[in-house]
């Protein structure tokens, strides 16, 4: 039985080394611009950084994937096409793409470059995935976080390319790549600028004894004195849909699917992905090491150790998200 591949995030060279050293099979990263979906200030890799990262990782038999997974701007395709060209030139093991036009470019210009379909493409059914395979030679699809494990199993029975699923970290309750909530409140969108609920549009304002967090002028949450204030990610806010304030879309919670390793293996999932390119190297080292330990135990048929990741999850709570039907 082929072991799971462990795919780990890196927002800077130090995080990449931490992920490699902690047992990643592959590290994914982006360039320092709007071509990737974690385009945050102070994050990501220059071309020189990527060259060094590939050297460090390949020397330790770890792969490097470059996410170029935003949607290129009309009339300005150059930055996205150069990102693909440079990833290929600098010997990245795969590029992770979402845009049809960019997939067509990569397939035509770099026929030997391995293409992965980003979660941002939201390909959730066998018909869609076969189209990406047939049209562009896509070899792996990162599944959108909308499918249950039984649905993933049935999907894998019908397709002949690899699937990668998120197992840990931040959780979008919306289908990724099909969400304009951030752009509605701020003018900045995941698809166009690679940002969601950007810090530049966040304010914290006292309201009496409470603290309000706002995004683009809209109140996303109000925290009482006894509550810890969280970051105002739009879909994790408290809103009124009647009279009672509620986390209408999703609580501030993190995905952790470690308990589902046997089901994901039976579903023929190839690779497990950890979210968090915006996280520091200490976080990356701890989460990657925990998953490495779990996957090694699982591969040997041993019980998966109970790991203490509680301190690592948003709001201190964990969910298996869409993998279980009741989430819907």
């Amino acid at each position: 039985m082929q072991p799971f591949e462990l795919i780990c995030p890196a927002g800077n060279p130090a995080a990449l080394r931490a992920a490699v050293d902690a047992g990643a099979d592959a590290v994914y990263l982006g360039f320092r611009d709007e071509t990737n979906a974690r385009n945050f200030p102070g994050l990501n890799f220059s071309r020189d950084d990527l060259a060094e990262a590939v050297g460090y990782a390949h020397a330790r038999k770890v792969q490097v994937f470059v996410a170029i997974n935003t949607y290129p701007q009309a009339g300005n395709l150059g930055p996205w096409q150069r990102a693909v060209d440079d990833a290929a030139r600098l010997k990245a093991d795969a590029v992770i793409l979402a845009d049809i036009g960019l997939l067509a470019y990569a397939a035509r210009r770099h026929p030997d470059l391995r293409l992965h379909l980003s979660v941002q493409a939201s390909a959730a059914n066998a018909e869609a995935i076969r189209l990406y395979r047939d049209a562009f030679g896509v070899r792996r699809v990162v599944l959108p976080r909308v499918l249950t494990v039984p649905e993933i199993a049935r999907l894998n029975a019908e397709i002949d390319i690899e699937t990668e699923v998120f197992v840990f970290g931040g959780l979008c309750p919306m289908a990724e790549g099909r969400c304009s909530l951030s752009s509605y409140a701020t003018g900045q969108s995941p698809n166009r600028q690679g940002v969601c609920s950007p810090a530049s549009h966040v304010r914290y304002e006292p309201r009496g004894k409470a603290l309000a967090s706002t995004l683009g002028g809209f109140t996303i949450n109000l925290f009482g004195e006894d509550e810890q204030a969280g970051y105002p990610t739009l879909c994790k806010g408290r809103f009124l849909s009647g009279d009672t304030p509620a986390y209408l879309f999703e609580e501030p919670t993190s995905l952790n699917a470690m308990e589902l390793l046997p089901e994901l293996k039976a579903a023929k999932v190839c690779a497990l992905k950890i979210e968090g390119r915006q996280r520091g190297k200490a976080y990356i080292a701890a989460v990657v090491a925990a998953y490495r330990k779990a996957l090694d135990a699982f591969a040997k048929g041993q019980a998966v150790p109970k790991l203490d990741l509680d301190a690592m999850v948003e709001g201190g709570t964990q969910t298996t998200g869409a993998y279980k039907r009741a989430w819907r």
């Binding site: 009339g75 919306m174 099909r178 309000a212």
Partner: protein
């Protein structure tokens, strides 16, 4: 190409008789050229409309409307997949594909590409054209600069580019039903609570500010897109299709007003002021002007 008015699919869960009567009235009275029908948000609702679908299509066709069938936005579960396959197997009417799965099944057939397939640039547009797209409806969040490039490319490629000019902007889709969640229910036992809200469920901030609209698994803007004042600019760019998304308001009046702007009989700014007064929610055009979508850009009359 003569500019055309499109009526998008009803996104909300209206009772079947209301849904039928709405389309009958649109057939008889609304000066729209193309009408797109079909349940795109939730497969659980589709059986309610199925018994009246044939008579709606027949009425629209006999009124001279071009009728297209819309495919669902999110297709993951087995039931969603079989609904998609059934729809695409209908070869009597053109299909508007809203997911790459439907596009895959339409290989070799002329079809429309709906606003839920991401077409952000001319390279994607060219690929879609090469697969037989006769029109492409752009995502609501695209700014004018992108629309201009795509409209020009559309003219060169010989396909029509569509922009939504009226109705709530679709912002997100999920596997989770927020209507059910807000009522303490699961999607599987949802009791069709989305049917209580014919214009969607209002979502306010904790300050009581109107913000978003929930429609089952879909999230929309609170405000209505209102691009009447931008019609001249859109026409000059080469946009040839203008989409009105049905809301719980007088859609015949809305269509009549936009038709008058397209025909050069009324000024778009005057129409947007009038629609601002008559629409149940404020009008917005921020996306088009490269601002937050939830705004109405200065320089145009904001209406309500």
């Amino acid at each position: 190409m003569k500019p055309r008015l499109t009526l998008g699919p009803v996104l909300f869960n209206w009772p079947a008789d209301r849904w039928r009567d709405f389309y009958f009235r649109m057939a008889d009275e609304a000066p729209v050229d193309t009408v797109i029908v079909g349940e795109v948000v939730c497969f659980k609702r589709a059986p309610f409309f199925a018994p009246v679908m044939d008579e709606v299509i027949a009425r629209l066709a006999s009124a001279g409307k071009e009728v297209w069938l819309a495919s669902p936005i999110l297709v993951g579960s087995d039931r969603e997949r079989s609904a998609m396959r059934d729809l695409v197997s209908c070869d009597l009417l053109p299909i508007e594909a809203n997911d790459m799965g439907a596009l895959s099944l339409l290989d070799g057939r002329r079809h429309a590409v709906g606003p839920f397939i991401n077409c952000y640039n001319e390279a994607t547009l060219a690929w879609l054209a090469g697969r037989g797209a006769m029109s492409v409806s752009l995502p609501a969040e695209l700014p004018a600069a992108s629309v201009a490039v795509l409209a020009k490319a559309g003219v060169e490629l010989g396909l029509s580019i569509e922009v939504q000019v009226y109705g709530r902007a679709p912002l997100a889709i999920s596997a989770r039903c927020y209507h059910a969640r807000a009522h303490g229910l699961h999607k599987d036992g949802c009791q069709f609570v989305c049917g209580n809200d014919p214009d969607g469920m209002p979502v306010k901030t904790l300050d009581g500010q109107s913000f978003l609209t929930v429609n089952g698994t879909q999230t929309l803007s609170h405000g209505y897109l209102g691009l009447a004042a931008e019609m001249d600019r859109l026409l000059a760019m080469g946009v040839t299709r203008f989409r009105l998304s049905p809301q719980d308001t007088d859609m015949v009046a809305v269509a009549t007003a936009f038709r008058a702007v397209l025909d050069g009989e009324r000024d778009g700014r005057e129409v947007v002021a009038e629609l601002g007064r008559s629409s149940p929610a404020p009008l917005e055009n921020g996306f088009f002007h490269n601002m937050a979508g939830a705004t109405y850009a200065a320089g145009h009359s904001p209406g309500a």
